[in-house]
Symmetry: C2
Subunit: 344 residues, 2 copies
Amino acid sequence: MTSSPSPSDASSAIEELLSAYHDLNPQSVEELHEEPSPLEFMRFVAQNKPFVLRKGASSWAACRRWNCEYLSEAMRGQSVKVALTPMGNADSVLALPDGAQCFIKPFEKEELFEEALAHIRSQSSDPSYKGPVRYAQTQNDNLRDEYASISPDVPSSVPFARIALQKDPENVNMWIGNSHTTTALHHDPYHNIYAQILGGKHFVLLPPIEAPCINEKTLPAATYRPRNSTAPENAQDLVVQFDDPPDTAPFACWDPDNPSVNTTAFSHLSRPVRVTLAEGDMLYLPALWYHKVSLSCSEEGICCSVNQFYDMDFSGPFWPMSGFVRSIGLSAIGEKQKKEPHNE
Amino acid sequence: MTSSPSPSDASSAIEELLSAYHDLNPQSVEELHEEPSPLEFMRFVAQNKPFVLRKGASSWAACRRWNCEYLSEAMRGQSVKVALTPMGNADSVLALPDGAQCFIKPFEKEELFEEALAHIRSQSSDPSYKGPVRYAQTQNDNLRDEYASISPDVPSSVPFARIALQKDPENVNMWIGNSHTTTALHHDPYHNIYAQILGGKHFVLLPPIEAPCINEKTLPAATYRPRNSTAPENAQDLVVQFDDPPDTAPFACWDPDNPSVNTTAFSHLSRPVRVTLAEGDMLYLPALWYHKVSLSCSEEGICCSVNQFYDMDFSGPFWPMSGFVRSIGLSAIGEKQKKEPHNE
Ligand SMILES: O=C(O)CCC(=O)C(=O)O
Ligand SMILES: O=C(O)CCC(=O)C(=O)O
């Protein structure tokens, strides 16, 4: 007797999901000018909603003290890990000459901090610079480790986040680079409190619900290696080497800044949100938000940021539901590709 | 070159969703013995996680004062809306003699409060009682309206909820019935703060993610009407009348207390959570949780509860993702029914 509701297929359910989300959520990042209380912060966490706190880090010693001279002085004689790439493309998708794609990781090199800094600055000021692009970053708690001598200039936690989330940061990361680097679109299973110290950062943000838009593919993993020596002088000394044993990584192949290529059937429904951090600004980037980041330099030719990763809570519906959206998206895209095959 | 990830179909994605959720979440309702702060409450909201606060309402004047004599006295001469059903089955699925199902609503009757109370009590104590089952409830803010004379015995809001959610309750509801009533499995787009005043309430709870388990069907709507008069003396004087103009309602057809019938392909993956409220206990039921409720009586033969509905926030990913799970679930079930047809 009773007919079941007519089953809507996965594609139209995804379209409805995206339009319902966009109807109910702002198309820009909320701007705060005063520090939130832990309760106010928790409301953003509950809504998985980013905000930028203008000047939120400006009272940090790092913001008051850090410049090239201070950093060189404090870090003199210490070596740090630096990501070297030919084009500033660490941890990103690389199109190979044969038309294939891989997930490319940087050549990681241990260098004296002052050498790395000199390279970064010279690329910013010298048009004839031919060396690899350097990004002093590792995302594995390097501030409290390699940069221990200056880490007291950054508060060990951000109180509203620590109190609300009931934990200290899992990772505190230093990022020193120049405008030749871009961090490709990706997401992390952490609440991210991101502070801009020197220069500017430009974020393109996509909510986790847009997983069906980003064209996630499982790509063969490769790493840049120096062709001859361990000290590549020129950018072209870095060559692509597939990982051995072979490995793969799932990665976003769609670029919100080049939205008409590498699309899925849903990419046109993405509504990227852009926000720029100036010196002293702080961004709360909730867990699982996709972000693409580009850099602009201070007068001294560097861009320096610090971020704290706080573990997300995997309980509740958000984590499994996000995985569900991703997996239905992958399957709908797979179906579409089968129905509408085209050369890639 | 690169092969797309193998598309998992909707059914296996739903199975993974349910098992991921259950692996990461408790199989019982957390018990608190002290009132949470607004921040602590907000953490439960963020996780869409219920809790029971034992004795959380015991200091309310309602808990100290209310009994049949006090209520009759305070409400003398006032009439209230009462839901009348033959079997205590208001707002539930009814199997019709021809095998079909409908969504049945109660006969709503305006009665003097003391008359309604006498009926409710006499059914509790008199085995020969033949009248309809009465449940004095309307879910439309009746405490602040029909029961205005006793509504000051209930705090106008629960402070931790009002402060965290930044709003007063949208609805404050009175529920007076006896053990012959059961409230069928359903969910509401509200945060529910539910306080038990007299007798006990027994909740069966399902998280919103279990939408694919509850066998939602769109059923023709019907209402109990008295056969002859407007004052049905006997339960069998109430007959089913389809709504005119015809209407439909989506409703859960699976009963977690009778789990082997009216199933979907996913019902067996449901993990219902049970909790009983004794006098003075308070339950936080997060938005969209499915709940089935049965009643047990105080020594005076009644069961009395009060709840406050706080508007949920539709921004963020939770609301659209919940709709997505529901809609993919309906479509997967529809597909399964097409592939494995059976008589209903
Ligand atoms: O600053 C960057 O280049 C990238 C930052 C980032 O990806 C992160 O903090 O997760
Ligand atoms: O108390 C009952 O019978 C049902 C309560 C309920 O469904 C609710 O508060 O939403």
